[in-house]
Symmetry: C2
């Protein structure tokens, strides 16, 4: 399969889980919205009812990882409290309130020969998820898959293994309580990394794989997987201040894009400034510094930083880095085309923003870039399923196949052509 | 990269071609329909003007392959005549008559905070094609890619190398004549199988890979490629005669699905018959025999074949075979659910058809199957981009990600979210 051997036992067990998911997915595919929403409510109720048991299991994960030296930030993401569980349960209830993406008619027509053609949204079948140590993703992914009529095979990080085991059992009990197969949601955490690799090669059993986590995880999945995978969430996002950009708007958008939340994929990582907007740079850099941002600057920007604003010299590596921290790379460019060339070279294709009052510059920026989202006079932070009104989000796709940008429930469906005739044959 | 080494020279040359295609794709992405259609007409005119030169190059391919023992069927597909070139050129002119898929607004809304959201169709960028010895695919693929604003990197079969070299040069001259970069259409045939493998791993340079050809080629591409690929064209299609199916319609649809054209992916390969429709089977088998079909039958069907209709016993392998020939597997089933179970087990997910007068049976068949197209009382042969009114077709996708069923120009685009604000930041 790949360079290291996978034990036959693990392979058999994971493939069997996928096969059971495939069988279960057939019940889900024809389940009505009423049944699916009842399942989501039962899942939410079950999580709240069993919150103490989940918190106890989670405490074992947290203690083990703390002793193992996990960073405070990651420990916080791993930690569940009864309050957090209530929030996670509410997200399931919100999913239940959304329209059913299955059965939507996308296109249709009557052909010249009288054939009646309908392109209908149907579930993918089995969705595989590979993610890291955030147990809330287990519930999120199971809920999104269920609402879109898909069975889910989940591989969470080993750091959350105790938490995920209890959570999945609670979700399975809820499924059973409304008459759906327990196999609609399964965890393969027990099979470790080997299990994840079997999942990546379960082509024919698993219909799509969605990795969620850091760059290493995502790149491993998209490169190794023979199951069609969706590349998500890497965001080296840029803000470009055009020659003709009003100062206040520059400050608002740059500071918001960088500092509103730093550990997320739609945060800005590089600021590009037209040389004719250099006069705004001192104030922009001062505002960023005041907000706590470390500025990695090129020579031109260094010269423009006020004396009380410390900077560090930017290296080639800075342009390519998704900091996910209070750091920002800053570069002065000759013109908009140099900004576009910089973005094309270093962007991960997530989100880029231009600040300008010039309609021609805005149009040029939009039409010459190739990212999932391009913002004109708005913060990069808006690239988000919730903000876009998609209701819920399973990830943000930075690839071009199937889904691009925030992936909601619709992106977890595929289509089938249903064709009605009355004995039509081709002549 | 994989198990056998690839020479550094080939890798460098193919990656450079892909890089040049990426640069060229930027001109194409912003080219107007007027320019793209002018290019398609110039390509058509060029092919016709240079037909003699193309036919001469093609003769070398045909002679070499004939001596090498290529079958008459494949030799016919390889052969170009001035008449065939005129037909190929007409297909380009037809493409020019189709609407531009680029720039289409798919969704859009104004968000509660006033942000104006637009999801716009944009080109993929660089489309890779790996195909076999049919030089017409070279023109087809180049034309479809161009119309949808994509650069194309083409890897045709070595059997058509001489033909493709001349054809690509003619197409590049046409591009240049309307001011588009020659690099919009490139061939990497000179780099052989090694070149194809570099193309499959050019993730980041090539946006999507579409294989066209036999099962071996397609499976190699979808399994080995790290570039997102689309599985196309494998069709183990089924026709199911329900208990309540009128005899004449059974005969019409089965004979048409099997014999209208046998070497294509939407031809039927297995006939399933409800046991309550057994009385129709003798006449259906007789009609198929008369049309020249070899019948591979289970025991129940064997018993029902008229004395003058020869049959051969079906084996397990027959159910799984895409014959692409005048052969048909035939099985009698207990009921519609056994037919559905059979199809789920053996189908490649292309097209299935039911013949019935029973609305409940039709609905049950449609909602319990999971293929790209499901026909009710119509021939499997209708699953086709031209028949569906999509205008043109680059292949028929049997996977669930991105495109399903006939892929037209729209399926060669992706989308970008363009978001307009007036200084919006997240609070």
């Amino acid at each position: 399969m790949t360079d290291t051997a996978i034990s036959a036992d693990v392979e058999a067990a994971v493939l069997e889980a996928c096969q059971r998911a495939k069988v279960a997915s057939r019940s889900l595919a024809t389940a009505t919205r009423i049944t699916k929403d009842a399942a989501l409510h039962a899942m939410a109720d079950g999580l709240v009812a069993d919150a103490a048991r989940i918190v106890a299991a989670n405490a074992k994960d947290v203690d083990r990882e703390r002793e193992g030296g996990m960073s405070p930030g990651l420990l916080d993401r791993l930690t569940l409290t009864e309050e957090r569980i209530a929030t996670i349960a509410d997200a399931l209830r919100f999913l239940a309130s959304l329209p059913d993406p299955v059965g939507e008619i996308r296109r249709g027509s009557t052909l010249p020969n009288g054939l009646r053609l309908t392109q209908k949204a149907v579930p993918m079948g089995v969705v595989g998820m590979i993610y890291e140590a955030r147990p809330n993703v287990t519930v999120d992914a199971a809920g999104l898959a269920l609402k879109s009529g898909n069975a889910a095979v989940l591989r969470g990080g080993s750091a959350a293994a105790e938490s995920n085991e209890v959570i999945v059992a609670v979700l399975q009990d809820a499924l059973e309580s409304v008459g759906l197969p327990r196999d609609c949601v399964q965890s393969i955490d027990a099979y470790g990394r080997e299990g994840a690799r079997v999942l990546m090669h379960a082509r024919g059993l698993v219909d799509v794989l969605v990795p969620r986590g850091g760059r290493g995880l995502i790149q491993t999945v998209v490169r190794e997987s023979t199951v069609p995978a969706i590349e998500t969430g890497e965001g080296n996002c840029h803000v470009y201040l055009d020659a003709d950009a009003p100062l206040e708007r520059c400050i608002d958008i740059v500071v918001n894009s960088k500092t509103h939340r730093v550990g997320v994929c739609n945060a800005a990582e590089t600021l590009l400034v037209h040389k004719d907007a250099e006069d705004k740079l001192p104030a922009v850099l001062a505002a960023l510094h005041e907000a706590g941002v470390t500025l990695h600057v090129d020579d031109a920007a260094a010269d423009l930083a006020p004396d009380n604003v410390p900077t560090v010299p930017a290296t080639e590596e800075d342009w390519a880095t998704e900091y996910l921290s209070m750091d920002l790379a800053v570069r002065v460019v000759e013109n908009i085309d140099e900004a576009i060339a910089h973005i094309r070279r270093y962007s991960t294709g997530h989100t880029e923003a231009i600040v300008t009052d010039d309609i021609n510059a805005a149009e040029h920026f939009v039409s010459h870039l190739d990212s999932a989202a391009v913002m004109v006079n708005a913060s990069t932070r808006f690239t988000d399923g919730g903000e876009f009104g998609l209701g819920a989000e399973i990830g943000i796709s930075t690839q071009k196949l199937h889904a691009r940008g925030p992936m909601g429930l619709a992106e977890l469906t595929t289509t089938t052509w249903v064709v009605y005739g009355d004995g039509h044959v081709r002549g």
